[in-house]
Amino acid sequence: MSRHTASLAELSRQLRAKQVSAVELAQAYLARIEAHRDLNAFLDVRPEVTLAQARTADARIAAGDATPLTGIPIAHKDIFVTKDFTSTASSRMLEGYMSPFDATVVQNLGNAGMVTLGKLNCDEFAMGSSNENSAYGNVLNPWDKGAVPGGSSGGSSAVVAARIAPVATATDTGGSIREPAAFTGVTGTKPTYGRPSRWGMIAFASSLDTAGLMTNSAEDAALVLGPMVGFDPKDSTSVDRPGEDFSRDLGKPVKGLRIGVPKEFFGAGLQPDVEAAVRTALEEYRRLGATLVDISLPSAELGIPVYYVVAPAECSSNLSRFDGVRYGHRAKSYGDLNDMIAKSRAEGLGAEPKRRILIGTYVLSHGYYDAYYIQAQKVRRLIADEFRRAFEQCDLIAGPVTTSVAFGFGEKAADPVAMYMSDLYTIPGSLAGIPSMSIPCGFGAKGRPVGLQLMANYFEEAKMLGAAHQYQLATDWHARIPEGFR
C-alpha cells in the first residue's frame, strides 16, 4: 500500500517500527505538494522548517519518547497563527505576517510530535463557502478542477482529498469544515464549541469559531482530536473537561442507535442527486441495525438570518484590530490618523470581510442593537433548544451537508445571498455549538462528491465518530481518490 493512502494508525505503526522515518515521510509529502502546486492549496511551504521538525520527531521515536502522532505530517489552515510560517488569513491585510507565537491547537499538535507541512489557503478571514474570497487565488477541487473546493477551509479539504497531506486543521464558524469536506469527499469534523482552544485562531465570530479536522476517515479524526483539544486558560470560552479517548466507540456497532432525520433538511432546494445519496446512506445505517426517527427542527430555517446578524456583529468587532498601526497593511499615502486607518482597511480588506463588517457595524449601532443583535441571540436560543429536545428522541441527527454538489467557479460569486444559502444545513448546528461532521456518501451530478452530515449532542464526539466509522467499515466512499492523485 502506498504511504499516501495509508491510515494515520498505519503510518504511526510504520514510524514506530522504523519502516519509515519522519524525514522520509515529510519528504514524500513535500514532493506531492510540489507536484500538485496547481491546486493552489498552500500559501506557505518551508521544507527546511518541515524537515527540522521531522528530524526532531525521528529523535523522539529513537529515544522512545513518541506519541502515536509523532512524525505524522499535518497542514494548518492559514487561520491558525504559526511562528515558523506566515499567517495571513488569506488576506492582503496580513501579507507576510509572522506571528510571535503558535496557536494553541498548533502547539498541542506540535507537542504530540506532528510535523507541519505548511499553511493552507482559505476564504479571507474564513468568510466564504467556496474559497473564492481568498486574496491569493482560487483553490481547485481535486475531483473536478472547474469546481470550487468549498469554503472557508478549501485548502484543507483539497489537500486531504488529493492525499497531499494526510490530515489538515480547519475551522468552522457556519459550516466551513463540513461544506468543503462534502464538496471534496473527505471526512470533516467539527467538535463541540469550546473544546478546541481559540487562542491564536484569527478571530472571525468568537461565539461560533471552532477548530476541527479534515481527514480521510473518522478513525483518523478520532486519533488526532484528542491531543488537539483540551482546556486552555488563554481562551475565555475554553471548556474545562478531562481529556478523552475519542476512539473509544469506534468498534461499537450501530445496532439500536436512534438516528433522527429532520424533515426540514429535505425540503425545497435540496437537489435530487444529493438527496438520493443521503437517503441511500440513511438506508445503509438502517441495514446496519440503526433506527431512523423522524424529527423536526422547525426553527432551523431561521439559522441563516440569525447567523448573518451574529457572525457579522462579532466580526465587525474582531476585525477592528486591523488598523494599520501595530501590524498588517498600512496605506502608502494618507492624511491624519483616521484617514490612515480608513485607507489601510479599504486597501487591505477584501469585499466579503468589508461587507460583513458593514452589516455588523449597522446591527450593533445605536438604535438597532435590540432589534437585530439581541433578537438574533434569542432566536439562536430557540434553535439550540430544538436540538436539545430532538436529542431526547434520538442519539444522533443525520441529513445532507449541502443542497447541491460543488458548484463551479463564479457561479455564485456575484450574489452574496445565493452564496450564503450554501450553509443552510450547517449553520443550525454551528449556532447550537454541537459537534457535527461530514462523511463522504457517494457522488452526484458531474461525478462530484456528496457528504452525509452527522450531528451529536454536546460533548458526544466519540459517539458521532463511532457511528461514522461503522459506516466507513461498511462502505468505501471515504477511500475513493480522485483521478490524477492516486
Binding site: 470560552t237 479599504a346 461587507r355
Partner: protein, 95 residues
C-alpha cells in the same frame, strides 16, 4: 425598511473603511438583499426568551488580574508598518 446611500456612507465611516461612491452603490443593493434575508428572523415571537451569547451558557470565566503571557518588544514590533525607538509610529494625533 431599506438602507440609503447615506446610511452606507455613515456605516462605512463608523467602521473606518474608506468607500468610493461606486462601491457604496454596489454595496447598497447587496446590503439590502442581506437585510431582506435577515428580516425573516425579526418577525419571530421571542417574548420571554433569554438571549444566547454563546453555546455553553453561564458566566464567562475571569482570570486573576495578574501579568501572564508577555511578548518581548522586538517580537511585538517585528510586524509594525512603521516604528522608531521601540515605539509604533502613527501620524500626529495631538497638535
Amino acid at each position: 425598511m431599506a438602507l440609503t446611500l447615506d446610511d452606507v456612507a455613515r456605516i462605512a465611516h463608523l467602521a473606518r473603511i474608506e468607500i468610493t461612491d461606486a462601491e457604496a452603490r454596489r454595496t447598497l443593493s447587496q446590503l439590502n438583499d442581506i437585510f431582506a434575508l435577515i428580516a425573516k428572523m425579526q418577525a419571530v415571537d421571542t417574548a420571554g426568551v433569554e438571549p444566547m451569547a454563546h453555546p455553553l451558557g453561564g458566566a464567562q470565566r475571569l482570570r486573576p488580574d495578574e501579568a501572564s503571557e508577555t511578548i518581548d518588544r522586538d517580537a511585538a514590533l517585528r510586524n509594525a508598518p512603521a516604528q522608531q525607538d521601540g515605539l509604533f509610529l502613527v501620524p500626529k494625533v495631538i497638535e
